[in-house]
């Protein structure tokens, strides 16, 4: 990939970070914020959505485009969801714990809370919200964070409800799961102060660190999502949704800059060629009896082939604008939005079973010469017409440069067209929830993760690596709680970071371990009821049968509880069994016998104690 001079191109980028909060209840009802499996659903129901006007009388473009296809949405409900998620009961008041956490985050980014927060409805009619809107509240504005390349301004902080999880496409629409709907979410939007892909990544990392410093955010796959807004000077603002991994952010920015730069170059070339987009027409006749599977398939089921001549576009439709994506791919994305499988264009034909003769006939039929290109769609008649119109419209936009739009992140760091940019017209006041007046004076200032790393090293003598693992790890709040209760920090840290990781590698189902399990195990280790050596075995026992308490598991597995006398007996037995060796080697035999003793105790005894008793017994005999 070629590197671009971002300064010269005038790169401007901003981030939107969406982070789920780990509150006890959802944002607008008293249901737990617990995720479920679709199989656990207890009820289902179906709905349709219809776009409505905002209180200023406007309909949002994005909502309108989404609603052009009438779709039936099916929802899965659980014993952990209620009528609020089903949009069959008005929302309760804004969750206080979520508001407090949002204010804490605002404070960490030096933001200013609003005097009065008004809950808004953001119209979304893709079915991901049963109501047809997402409730979103502006909590604070105007803050900033530091990066090594200078400060990045924070535009706003919104407290929102998470949408329902898409389960799968159905014959008539989409199936959604209600477990996730209503989990509190903060959305943090930066100002467009970011001027390089590296700075974008660093800003995202910094925001992620600040969020986790509160200890009140959810962890794990899908609990944080990044959107990136990118434009270059001659390009346009493009919102890229759903960047799954933080590490992809710089690649996404790089590729989007490349795409916009290529589209600008294409515009200049088309202008020079005096290119234009012709009239859409039906060219079904050209493909009667074709060998192309795709086209024949459409025609056999009564469909048609539509085409648009792109005058002056020869060679340009097939031009690469991002890794493995061409201008033709953009046209295709728009055609797909209207139900077509995609488009074919003359820059890639003959291929896919379309012959050279058919290409020639196609060019003749639409009056395209050698310097022109032709795009076609084969599908059901109405789909073929709507799809080629959409592709033609996108081709027309290429004459103007880069279109403003919302795009989705692909796994390979490229993006695809999703929908037009949403506007202010999708915002409507949520009349069911009264405004709230945030009180920032009550908000505690959390210790930053970077500060925690230092403190863990200074106060607890943890190594730098372990300190960082704990501070940034998902067990940080548990670690702090148990250490405050008097548990040895080294034991807690190594158990939470190393032991659990090792057990997971050994296929122990550690995800079954509850906070209570871990707290009890630490407690047993601290009071001496369980030797430190027995911790992995006991955690394994608990993970495999999580219904038991730590004490029950220890007892049934015979872990812990060995007193000095029992240990001495076991040591004496080992020493006597190896009497000849002890007499011969004396203390040299220690390390070999130590292993044997520990094996005999099977984690029931503390290593220091065994070592001490074994030394004594060897000395007696040597």
């Amino acid at each position: 990939m070629s590197e671009y001079d971002y300064d010269e191109l005038g790169l401007v980028a901003g981030l939107e970070i969406h982070q789920q909060l780990d509150t006890a209840t959802k944002l607008f009802c008293q249901c737990p914020t617990e995720l479920r499996e679709p199989e656990e659903a207890t009820r289902t129901f179906t709905r349709y959505l219809h776009p409505t006007r905002s209180e200023l009388g406007e309909i949002d473009d994005a909502a309108l485009e989404e609603s052009r296809v009438e779709r039936e949405f099916e929802y899965l409900a659980y014993d952990t969801t209620c009528l609020v998620e089903e949009d069959d009961e008005p929302p309760h008041e804004l969750d206080e714990e979520a508001l407090e956490t949002a204010l804490e985050i605002a404070q960490l980014m030096a933001m200013h809370p609003v005097d009065q927060a008004n809950v808004m409805r953001k119209i979304v009619v893709d079915g991901s919200n049963t109501s047809g809107f997402q409730r979103s509240t502006l909590i604070a504005t105007e803050g900033e964070i530091e990066t090594s390349d200078g400060a990045v301004g924070i535009e706003d902080l919104l407290l929102e409800e998470e949408s329902a999880q898409r389960v799968e496409e159905t014959a008539d629409g989409v199936r959604y799961s209600l477990d996730r709907l209503g989990i509190p979410l903060v959305e943090i939007g930066t100002k467009p102060d970011i001027s390089s892909p590296e700075q974008a990544l660093e800003a995202a990392e910094r925001i992620g660190m600040l969020l986790r410093s509160t200890g009140k955010v959810k962890r794990g796959l899908g609990t944080i999502r990044q959107d990136v807004n990118v434009s270059i000077e001659e390009g346009a603002r493009v919102e890229i949704k759903g960047v799954q991994s933080l590490d992809d952010i710089d690649d996404i920015v790089r590729n989007e800059v490349g795409r916009q730069a290529e589209l600008v170059a294409i515009r200049d070339e088309l202008e020079e060629r005096e290119a234009s987009v012709g009239e859409v027409q039906d060219v079904t006749e050209v493909f009667e009896g074709t060998d192309s599977g795709v086209i024949a398939g459409a025609l056999n089921s009564g469909g048609s082939v539509t085409a648009v001549p792109l005058y002056g576009f020869d060679g340009i439709v097939g031009r690469e604008i991002a890794p493995d994506r061409r201008l033709g791919t953009e046209l295709s994305d728009h055609a797909k939005r209207h139900g077509a499988g995609g488009i074919f264009h003359t820059d890639e034909l003959p291929a896919y079973g379309v012959t050279e003769a058919e290409v020639d006939a196609l060019r003749d039929a639409v009056g395209a010469g050698p310097e022109d290109a032709v795009a076609i769609v084969a599908a059901d008649a109405d789909v073929a017409e709507a799809a080629i119109e959409a592709a033609a419209e996108r081709a027309g936009t290429a004459l103007e440069g880069v279109p403003e739009e919302t795009r989705g992140a692909n796994d390979d760091g490229t993006t695809r067209y999703l929908r037009p940019l949403p506007g202010a017209a999708r915002m409507y006041p949520e009349t069911d929830v009264p405004p709230v007046e945030p009180d920032p004076s009550e908000v505690p200032e959390p210790e930053l993760l970077t500060e925690k790393v230092e403190r863990y090293q200074d106060e607890y003598d943890l190594g730098a690596g372990l300190a960082e693992q704990v501070a940034y790890g998902q067990h940080m709040p548990l670690f702090e709680d148990v250490v405050a209760d008097g548990i040895d920090p080294t034991l807690a840290a190594s158990t939470l970071e190393s032991t659990l990781t090792e057990l997971r590698r050994d296929d122990v189902p550690v995800e079954n371990l509850t906070r209570e399990h871990l707290e009890d195990v630490f407690e047993m280790a601290e009071t001496g009821d369980l030797p430190n050596e027995g911790v992995p075995d006991l955690l394994t026992e608990l993970a495999e049968e999580p219904d038991r308490t730590a004490e029950e598991a220890a007892e049934s597995a015979g872990l812990g509880g060995a007193d000095d006398e029992e240990v001495r007996e076991a040591v004496v037995e080992v020493v006597e069994r190896n009497e000849a060796q002890v007499e011969e080697e004396g203390m040299q035999a220690f390390s070999g016998l130590m292993g044997e003793c520990m094996g005999a105790m099977r984690g029931k005894a503390d290593g220091d104690l065994v070592s001490q008793l074994l030394r004594e017994e060897i000395q007696k005999r040597a």
């Binding site: 959505l49 006007r53 209180e55 909502a63 949009d87 999708r426």
Partner: protein, 423 residues
Amino acid sequence: MNPGDRVRVDRADRTYEGVLLPSSTDDHLVVKLEGGYNVGVDRAGADVEVLAEDVYEIEDMDAAGPDDEGEDDAADSEIEFDDDLPTISLLSTGGTIASTVDYRTGAVTAQFDAEDVLRAVPDLAGRANYRGRVVANILSENMEPPLWQDLAEAVSEEIEAGADGVVVMHGTDTMQYSASALAFMLETPVPIVFTGSQRSADRPSSDNVMNAVCAVEAAKSDCAEVLVCMHATESDDVCALHRGTRVRKNHTSRRDAFETVGAEPLGRVDYDAEEVSFRGDYQERGATELERREGLESDVELLKFTPGMDPAFLDVVEGSEGLVIEGTGLGHVHTDLIPRIEELIEDGTTVVMTSQCLEGRVCDRVYDTGRDLLEAGVVEAGDTLPGTAKVKLMWALENSEDVTEAMSTSLAGEIQERSVPWE
């Protein structure tokens, strides 16, 4: 500075720029920011600069927005008459199905007329020719008996003018009372179908679209009765058709709040298949001539008896023409109240007994208390619902020669002869 102006508000070290909106509290200015978010700014110490006046028309802001056309010709100009389609009259009384935001209270209020409903529910197009009419523009909790009479008159006029069916858009809170009133007041040759929405029309998920579509289909059907058409389940799949005198709103917020008490619903409308079907007998289209008797006695009360009730409540209704009691169980009140009830009856008040059980019929011959009530002259209303009984008594006092006989006889399906709730 007025709502609709583009403003810049400075307060403390913050600046907000956007469109000024009416605020529901005196202490705050509400500004709609560029991104669409509304934010409240403390009025105290706020410095406001008007950047441009009247960017938006806030006062006239109804569903159609700034490009709203004149109301009178909207229906005529947009919709062509089709001889092959039946004519359905849409009457609006306000309520959730036709509501939008009220900036005074911040809550939802009624602001549409019938033409707006057509615009709001494009799915209605092509199913019928429509006549639109606004009878009232109120929230249904503000409904009053004189409006039932206006509504009955409007429905009659529509039927006389050739409507093949009438759909009444009504708030859900008191829909069952209005439906009962029309059921007693009108002999109808065409369907009269009440509908509304439980979830406001300003949300994409509103049940108004499906309810309105199904109501129009029911109004085209063969069942010439007063019906209530609302969601049968939480899904957008089927609407139930309830007899107006047997229906009750049994949930505060669910789409399927309306239920027929003591029986299965009379019919259903399958939304996808657009099919109307009935499970029981009904009065067929054209079986009767249009007849209207809308007289009502307004001096009638409904009293719910509960343990510990102050007997003085009965003093309040002294001299009233009618009293419906919502008694316990089979139709009882505290025995100490019986002498006072007897006095009321001797004084000329018609006292009717219903049950707060809602399911089942009253029977005052089983226990002594009941027998004493009958002795005192209380009239049993069978399995008539308490609310329906009140409306019926208001009507019967003006229109029936023998009120006692009328209250224990089914006039509009309000009393079921056989107790077969599973049918």
